[in-house]
């Protein structure tokens, strides 16, 4: 790699269940203009654009980037859309990273979004199942996450219990109170979660993310430009992605190997040997409460089976030694196509010291994680204050 890249500006919209005042392009534009403003740039300063969104069926427009691009000022410019399911927000940022480190472009705007209220989220997710195979039993994302949670609980009982999942739900909703962009900002208890309606057992309503309208955007610049644009860019220190097929032997949703491998790759690139010690915080894609425990194990924050102990210890809460999801995570807002980018954006913002009320003091290295597909795509991005 002949040059480095960094995030120099970020923008988000307030995540809500329905933004009835804006169309899809306008929603994305809102986040993109905020990111440009944050970086002190105008649309004309951008060399290339990347857009990320989850399945087109959500908003019902094919090749939506062609419609949205002009709202970002991309007319007449290079524009590419990435489309990798749940990981797409992160995959798009990663594509933006390669746009820059390839040497082709100096300043790239990456935007990701979802406007789930325009369509039908669970139907859209079920359309991801193979019509020739398992579509008839499809139940959106909760069905799959329910299978995952059960596999995880069954393996680690009695050390991990349903209450441990509930603790994640409580922690992240509480964290969200300090995040002005979060959708669900709730003071709830473990009892509330346990008593909430079953969705896909063992998942209960409060174990599940909401569906959201929202967009996020980041501006990525090459090292030379980044240093001029902001005193404290969030440098890409490690990037790893890994895909796996759900149809190979011994698929393990409770310890997904794609996540383990993506993390290994990112750690290697960032020269990280002991993630829990060397990283200062993490934003992980927990669309369902148990997933924070599963990812904590797969990312090496704790040993397999110790996810329950980790949440119980309070070390991953705000004020703990290793806060996870200070933003409130996906449990507090899930505009699907943007959610993986929001994890990166939040991690980068922590490194830039601009996270406001949910800033973790002194963050130098932060990790962002995402998953997608049938728990088969993983991305890990590590941001650092220095490179």
């Amino acid at each position: 790699m002949t040059r480095s890249a960094a995030i120099v500006g970020t923008g988000q919209t307030k995540y809500v269940s329905r933004r009835e005042d804006v169309s899809v392009p306008e929603l994305v534009r809102e986040a993109a203009m905020r990111a440009l403003e944050d970086a002190g740039l105008k649309p004309g300063d951008v060399d290339a654009f990347v857009i990320g969104s989850a399945p087109e069926i959500f908003e019902g427009v094919n090749y939506p980037e062609n419609w949205i691009g002009p709202a970002l000022g991309a007319s007449g410019k290079p524009l590419m859309r990435i489309h990798t399911g749940g990981t797409v927000g992160a995959s798009s940022t990663i594509a933006g990273f390669y746009h820059v480190v390839s040497g082709l472009f100096d300043v790239v705007l990456v935007a990701a979004y979802e406007k789930l209220s325009d369509g039908n989220a669970q139907y859209g997710l079920s359309a991801c199942y193979d019509p020739l195979w398992d579509r008839d039993f499809a139940c959106g994302a909760p069905g799959l996450a329910g299978l995952q949670a059960r596999q995880y609980l069954a393996r680690h009982a009695p050390e991990v219990t349903e209450e441990h999942g509930a603790m994640v739900a409580v922690k992240n909703r509480k964290n969200a109170i300090s995040n002005p962009y979060a959708q669900l900002q709730l003071e709830i208890t473990v009892e509330d979660v346990m008593a909430s309606a079953p969705v896909a057992a063992p998942l209960k309503l409060l174990d599940c993310c909401p569906t959201s309208d929202g967009a996020a955007a980041v501006v990525i610049a090459c090292d030379r430009r980044a240093r001029k644009l902001t005193p404290r860019p969030a440098w890409f220190a490690g990037v790893g992605t890994c895909s796996e097929s759900p149809y190979v032997p011994h698929v393990d949703m409770a310890y997904p190997e794609s996540c383990v491998r993506a993390a290994q790759q990112a750690y290697q690139m960032a020269w990280i040997y002991e993630p829990y010690k060397e990283l200062d915080m993490a934003e992980v894609y927990e669309a369902f409460s148990f997933q924070e425990l599963i990812w904590s194990e797969a990312l090496g924050f704790c040993a397999p089976g110790e996810g329950g102990k980790l949440i119980e210890s309070g070390r991953t809460a705000m004020g703990g030694e290793f806060p996870i999801n200070p933003s409130g995570g996906v449990l507090s807002a899930n505009p699907i196509g943007a959610s993986a980018m929001i994890r990166q954006l939040e991690a980068a913002t922590q490194v830039m010291g601009k996270a406001g009320d949910h800033q973790v003091p002194g963050v130098k290295k932060a990790l962002a994680h995402s998953w997608g597909g049938a728990i088969q795509f993983s991305t890990v991005t590590i941001f650092a204050s220095e490179i």
Binding site: S23, E26, A71, D118
Partner: protein, 156 residues
């Protein structure tokens, strides 16, 4: 009879979903103006000054915000047209009909709409919209029934 069991070639399936797309301020104003006033609205770009019809809150050409409205048309000039000879599912009119690209008076962009299949629809011809009766308008672009050539006085 000893018939071989039939092979499975195609599985019939469908993707079927309902949408309610939020229009956003500019589109809402345009569609409301058609419905309530039978008028056509354009938006003015605060940077390049171009008038876009139908309007957006952003300028497609330069990415700037739109800051003002202009009433445009109702008439315009045909920039291009195509004749659709055969009907298809979802067709806006019974075939044959035409799609037209019309630049409305006062606009810097052209809009796509439909027209009857008549010779008066040609490049450079002036055309006018024929609105549906007020009671039938729903706040959709199809509240304009079609564009008809002025030379024909609005006949079909």
């Amino acid at each position: 009879m000893d018939l071989k069991p039939p092979e499975l070639i195609y599985l019939e399936g469908e993707t079927r979903c309902n949408y309610h797309w939020a229009t956003g301020g500019a589109v809402a104003a345009f569609l409301s103006a058609i419905r309530d006033h039978g008028k056509l609205l354009g938006a003015v770009c605060e940077s390049c000054g171009g008038v876009t019809v139908p309007p957006q809150t952003y300028c497609e050409k330069c990415g700037s915000s739109m800051s003002d409205w202009r009433e445009v048309g109702p008439g315009g000039v045909v920039m291009s047209w195509t004749r659709i000879a055969d009907g298809y599912e979802g067709a806006p009119l019974e075939a044959p009909f035409r799609f037209v690209l019309v630049r409305l008076a006062g606009a810097d962009t052209a809009m796509v709409h439909v027209a009857p299949d008549v010779d008066g629809i040609k490049v450079g011809a002036t055309v006018s919209p024929e609105f549906k009766p007020e009671g039938e308008r729903k706040g959709a672009v199809t509240d304009i029934r079609w564009f008809v050539p002025d030379a024909m006085g609005g006949e079909e």
